[in-house]
Symmetry: C2
Subunit: 361 residues, 2 copies
């Protein structure tokens, strides 16, 4: 067995200690004679796993008590539909800030339910920067303002929480949740697919201010109702227990490693290392995002000569650096360097990039 | 490590060879240097896993080509809401046959969307039998007829496919899918949470006749649209890759073991063994379901003296027989004996039951 450094954008690399523990417990969780994936979600074993996961995430992110935390299926995309169904009246205005591909996805999901207004849009500039807050044209009566904290494909990240006055701020944090300390109290709702920064695919986290749950929203099935999920403690139906368990192991690993403050320091160092190689390459490598909006999580970059793309990927793989191919929408390369990517992996990539340039520049 | 015989109703026991393979591949899938749970769902590795899983399920269940197969999140309950959104006009009539708890859940999910008619209901008889087909009062203009093939809590199972004429037949097969050969062509749609008879929690299977996808249905987000999921090959958003992978391993195991015809024989023997102990106990154990409607998958039973419930559970656990406590709605005991429960496990339970009666009868 030899582990590569895996720069996949999500599903993404997991901490090796987490995988080792899941492996050790695969046939027998804590001596009960069965895997945790084989036990009832309502039994004492999984209830313990679930409760610890929520408590640990609350600790990690300093989530205030007046916020509910949900562990749900359906990924971030399902939450994008549910936020309109749950928190906006039929046809009510909802404001959307678009800074990349995922903002557009969020907008698409709510079209049948609300009067979605694009109040700021980075598409004209090729999603290489975040429109200045002063230029946003917020609606007077919006149910909420939605933005994407980190755009995984375009590598564009908000570095501050935008001030939108009294309107609840909703944010897709799929690819940057728990990457640094965050003032959760500034938000009405935060959601994230877990498969990037929290580890396992197949479970999404929703953090919602409880008073918002009193909104009537729109006619919907119980299974599409956040209030029912809160009441059912994320067990309205059988939850994805395995994925929830794996997320819990990641939370415990993050706490052991020093929490989000420590990951913020590591993530800053990792991102700086790659952007320095790119910016110092004299144009051999290129990242076109405005410096102030560059993502610490996803570093997309292009080779000056795209005929070198294939050799780059092939040689990187031979050097144990995998999943560096860029998203099909943009081409080029992308290094995703979430919490679970060790600094040694980024150092190895930086060295490889310098070496590849020397041999091909 | 010692494995118990785990009679959990779902999440439920998995085949040991599947767990062993998942354990062996946990840190490095087929030499790529990463776990399958860490790789992109759009990469060649997972695409292979996904395609093989679908092909294997099609082989196992002899699914005709004019049916699409989806692997989705949200469990069976989400599908219960989506069938109305996708296949009925707003307020259109849909017919529901209720033979237990899960039929009632299915009905509840569609209330906001359709004029749901209960065309047959076993509740008056305590859900101990299936209302005769001749007594069903089908609507003239129903979008579909829905029933629950096996009621996990009440232990009531349809042994034949009901004839509903030209109206598409929709069925929840969560707890009996692939338990015996089934003529899929009799159905418009079959859905099942995988965590009972197909193995892993966190993924649901939907088998839908393609022509039904042309129905307009109701306004809905793309992520709630089966047509979009079919077009996106179940990858409209990031799918639960780990769970899908584990299901795929279970399908391969089932094919190796002889396919559904072989499991039908084993399941018949396993169920007969337990019902024989119950019926031969002179009332010490009791199952109240009509013989013709008894489930081969879930065997609920009661002890004549419920003061013996706790000792029964405690001694069973000491004997390596776990998760036998009945659902809180019914009390008593329940032995769930899905495909992955070996005959040796059921034989051990039958012996224990006889022995327990001898000591306490």
């Amino acid at each position: 067995m030899s582990r590569a450094y895996n720069f996949s954008a999500g599903p993404a690399t997991l901490p090796e200690p987490v995988l080792l523990q899941a492996q050790a417990e695969m046939l027998d969780w804590h001596g009960v004679g069965a895997s945790i994936v084989e036990l009832s979600h309502r039994g004492p074993e999984f209830m313990q796993v679930a409760q610890e996961a929520e408590a640990d995430l609350r600790t990690l992110m300093a989530i205030p008590d007046d916020y509910a935390v949900l562990f749900l299926q359906g990924g971030a995309t399902t939450q994008q539909a549910l936020i309109a169904l749950n928190f906006a009246n039929p046809g009510q205005t909802a404001d959307y800030v678009i800074t990349g591909h995922w903002g557009k996805t969020a907008l698409k999901q709510v079209k049948p339910y609300v009067n979605a207004q694009i109040v700021a849009n980075g598409e004209g500039g090729g999603f290489r920067d975040i429109p200045a807050r002063s230029e946003w044209k917020l609606s007077d009566d919006a149910a909420y303002v939605h933005y994407t904290a980190n755009e995984t494909i375009h590598g564009v990240e908000f570095r501050d929480i935008p001030d939108v006055g009294g309107v609840p701020l909703f944010a897709d944090f799929s690819s940057s949740i728990a990457a640094e300390p965050l003032d959760v109290s500034k938000f009405g709702l935060i959601y994230a697919g877990a498969q990037k920064n929290l580890g396992p695919v197949g479970v999404a986290v929703v953090i919602v201010r409880r008073d918002l749950l009193e909104r009537a929203g729109q006619p919907r099935a119980e299974i599409l109702d956040y209030r029912a999920h809160v009441k059912g403690e994320s067990m309205l139906n059988t939850p994805p227990t395995w994925n929830w368990y794996l997320a819990g192991l990641v939370f415990k690993w993050m706490i052991r490693e020093g929490g989000v403050a420590e990951f913020a320091r590591r993530n800053a160092r990792k991102a700086a290392l790659l952007y320095d190689v790119i910016d110092g390459s004299g144009g051999f490598y290129r990242n076109e995002v405005a410096t102030t909006a560059r993502s610490r999580m996803n570093v997309p970059f292009f080779l000056r000569d795209d005929a070198l793309d294939k050799p780059f990927l092939k040689e990187a793989e031979a050097a144990g650096l995998i999943s560096l191919k860029g998203h099909r929408a943009l081409g080029g390369m992308r290094a995703s360097i979430y919490n679970a990517m060790p600094e040694a992996g980024v150092q190895a990539l930086a060295s490889f990039m310098r070496d590849f340039q020397q041999r091909n520049g």
